[in-house]
């Protein structure tokens, strides 16, 4: 499903060069739930972003579903992100000026064949699935951290993507909320067969996944 070959990523600023990833090779099978661990700054987010086609590797190949990527800014790549990928970020990245339901329907806005009515139905469904059916017209600022992350999950799954990329989805949550969020991801993986790659700091969470990859200073150690 995801095939990362010899990927390196160098960040260049005027003064320094940071080697964020060094020669990474990683395959994720369809339906697999993979977790990535490692100390802060070791390149976990960078790797996830590269898998999600929102960052370009400095060298190496990324193949998703058997297809390589040539132009990261093309409409085709945008379409692919829209249809195949769902992101969950540590700091939620909800749009504060939009209501919960409007946030959730955001990916559907970029599908020309989905009507406004369908969008609302699908978004309501996704919200119900994360237990927030009665929070549709709230705004993100009116929700707790756990609720916000569930909204973000609803947004990530509303388009029924094949791959979910979650960057420390429980990192900003207390353990009970973290467990709830984790359970939603596990259900998604088991019931829908969604491939999930999750970055986490939490050994306990990582134990619940199929496989664990450890990064250290930009290289893969396990």
């Amino acid at each position: 499903m995801i095939n990362i070959q010899n990927v390196s990523k160098v960040y260049r600023t005027d003064t320094i060069e940071t080697l964020a990833l060094q020669d990474i090779n990683l395959q994720v099978a369809k339906g697999e739930f993979l977790s990535i661990m490692g100390p802060s700054g070791c390149g976990k987010s960078t790797l996830l972003n590269i898998m999600g086609l929102i960052d370009e590797p400095s060298s190496g190949q990324v193949e998703l579903d058997g297809r390589g990527v040539s132009d990261y800014n093309s409409r085709k790549t945008a379409r692919f992100r829209n249809e195949q990928l769902g992101f969950i970020f540590q700091s939620f990245h909800l749009i504060n000026d939009l209501s919960v339901i409007d946030n959730v329907e955001l990916p559907m806005l970029y599908r020309p064949d989905v009507s406004a009515k369908q969008r609302k139905e699908l978004s309501a469904e996704a919200l119900a699935a994360v237990g927030l059916a009665n929070r549709q017209s709230h705004f993100p600022s009116q929700l707790s951290g756990g609720q916000r992350q569930r909204v973000a999950i609803a947004r990530a799954v509303v388009g029924k993507p094949n791959i979910i990329l979650a960057d420390e989805p429980t990192g900003n949550l207390d353990s009970q909320m973290g467990d709830e969020v984790m359970q939603i991801l596990i259900d998604l993986n088991e019931n829908m067969g969604t491939t999930i790659v999750m970055v986490t700091h939490d050994e306990r969470m990582a134990q619940k996944t199929h496989r664990l990859v450890r990064l250290f200073d930009g290289t893969q150690v396990v």
């Binding site: 972003n49 999600g52 929102i54 960052d55 990261y72 800014n73 093309s74 409409r75 945008a78 379409r79 992100r81 829209n82 249809e83 990928l85 769902g86 992101f87 970020f89 990245h93 749009i95 000026d97 939009l98 409007d102 329907e105 955001l106 990916p107 806005l109 970029y110 599908r111 406004a116 947004r155 388009g159």
Partner: protein
């Protein structure tokens, strides 16, 4: 999709109050100024009653008699040929050394004998203006009267509040009838209703009012007057003068807009071929000026020998001012937009991560900016109505009544949209190019 953008646009406006205030203030003030200028131009030059056919009209109220004095300058080459100096005249040129000019408005004879025969036109009317002091109920009124041919009413579509214009029968038989404006009726008769049939005496001659018209909104001397009288009721001396100069003006209505140029050319040609009358044989040539409505307006501002020169000055100044008035706030808004959009780079990245491409982002931000501009435009529109009302009330423009019609509204709307588009395009383009990972 646009509904979402719309919701978001208003949310963003509401959240960023200071930014919104500054933007809206700039936009609405700019558009207010533009709309007032447009309303002014439309009133003066637009196709509004009584000049609905303004673009078919040719106005003639200028004749110039001129004699030019020249100095001739010779350029001579000399050379020695076989021991003798020879001279070769290579070139000579004449240089204007001075001119004797007599210029002013034409006499009736110039129209009747020379210009009325020129083609092509549908209607022609000669006119002249005279002022009267009238005493009524112990008060003195200064009235501006316009004597005109019957066809005057076929060229200018005055709005008759009651009664009718005078016709060719009235003019042929010199019937003492008059058309008055609503303002004059109010001031003179104390009412502008049921004024037809009432009488007033001008220099010992009593006229019966047969029509009341809405006062002309433009400052054009071709339409402006308090009272309109048949040409033939004027004094004989003025009417029978044999002079080519006098107090008259003429207005031609060309069959179509496309005939205007031809008519002007033919009038100018006919003017040049008018024989110089014996009492003016000091002069060598005659030039007349036959203007379009816009040319006449421009020429009254600059008085260039060449009418075209006045016209292009007028247009340059006009478009320059309008452009300047738009440019400064546009740059300002671009600047504001850039800083505002930078704050939304995380939103842009999120949208892109979930499948928006650059085009979606561009459209979204352009749309938002156009919405702001339209809100500003609406405020500007209301302010413009207020300013126009105040200008009309104050009498700052004595002969012009500004009005805001659908045409001005339409053009303002287009300017408004263009303004929103231009000021939003560059910032929106910049933001749409943002790399996804940069905002996360």
């Amino acid at each position: 999709m646009f509904k979402n953008y719309l919701k978001l646009a208003f949310k963003v406006l509401g959240r960023r109050k200071f930014f919104t205030f500054v933007s809206l203030f700039g936009i609405s003030f700019t558009l207010m100024v533009l709309m007032v200028i447009m309303a002014f131009l439309d009133t003066e030059l637009g196709a509004n009653a009584p000049m609905s056919e303004a673009d078919r009209m040719v106005l003639m109220d200028r004749v110039e008699f001129k004699t030019q004095f020249y100095d001739t300058i010779y350029q001579v080459d000399s050379q020695l040929v076989a021991g003798k100096m020879t001279y070769d005249t290579v070139n000579f040129e004449t240089e204007e050394a001075g001119a004797m000019v007599s210029q002013g408005s034409p006499g009736l004879k110039l129209f009747r004998d020379h210009l009325e025969a020129v083609e092509p036109y549908e209607h022609f009317a000669a006119m002249f203006r005279r002022s009267f002091d009238v005493f009524q109920d112990g008060r003195k009124y200064s009235l501006s009267a316009k004597y005109a041919d019957a066809d005057y009413w076929k060229i200018l579509d005055f709005n008759f509040l009651e009664g009718t214009p005078f016709n060719s029968n009235h003019v042929e038989s010199a019937t003492s009838v008059a058309v008055v404006t609503d303002r004059m009726a109010r001031e003179f008769f104390g009412t502008d209703e049921n004024v037809t049939g009432r009488e007033l005496t001008l220099s010992g001659r009593t006229f019966e009012v047969i029509g009341v018209v809405e006062r002309s909104r433009t400052s054009s001397v071709f339409t402006r007057a308090d009272i309109y009288l048949p040409m033939s009721t004027a004094d004989n001396q003025t009417l029978s003068s044999e002079s080519l100069q006098g107090p008259f003006r003429g207005i031609f209505l060309a069959p179509s807009v496309n005939d205007v140029k031809q008519l002007q050319d033919n009038l100018h040609f006919a003017g040049r071929n008018v024989p110089i009358p014996p009492d003016m044989d000091d002069f060598e040539n005659i030039t007349i000026k036959a203007f379009t409505v816009e040319e006449k307006y421009a020429w009254n501002l600059f008085f260039d020998d060449e009418v075209k020169k006045s016209l292009s000055k007028f247009r340059w100044i006009l478009f320059g001012t309008l452009g300047f008035f738009l440019l400064i706030p546009t740059l300002n808004l671009i600047n504001l937009n850039l800083s505002r959009m930078v704050e939304r780079s995380s939103e842009i990245s999120v949208r892109k991560a979930f499948g928006a491409d650059s085009r979606h982002i561009l459209v979204q931000f352009l749309f938002e900016n156009i919405i702001i501009t339209l809100v500003g435009g609406t405020i500007g529109f209301l302010l413009a109505l207020l300013v126009i009302y105040l200008i009309n009330q104050s009498g700052a423009l004595p002969d012009t009544i500004l009005s805001f019609n659908w045409r001005v509204f339409g053009i303002s709307l287009i300017i408004c949209l263009g303004f929103g588009f231009l000021s939003g395009l560059l910032p929106a383009y910049r933001m749409s190019r943002q790399q996804v990972a940069d905002g996360l």
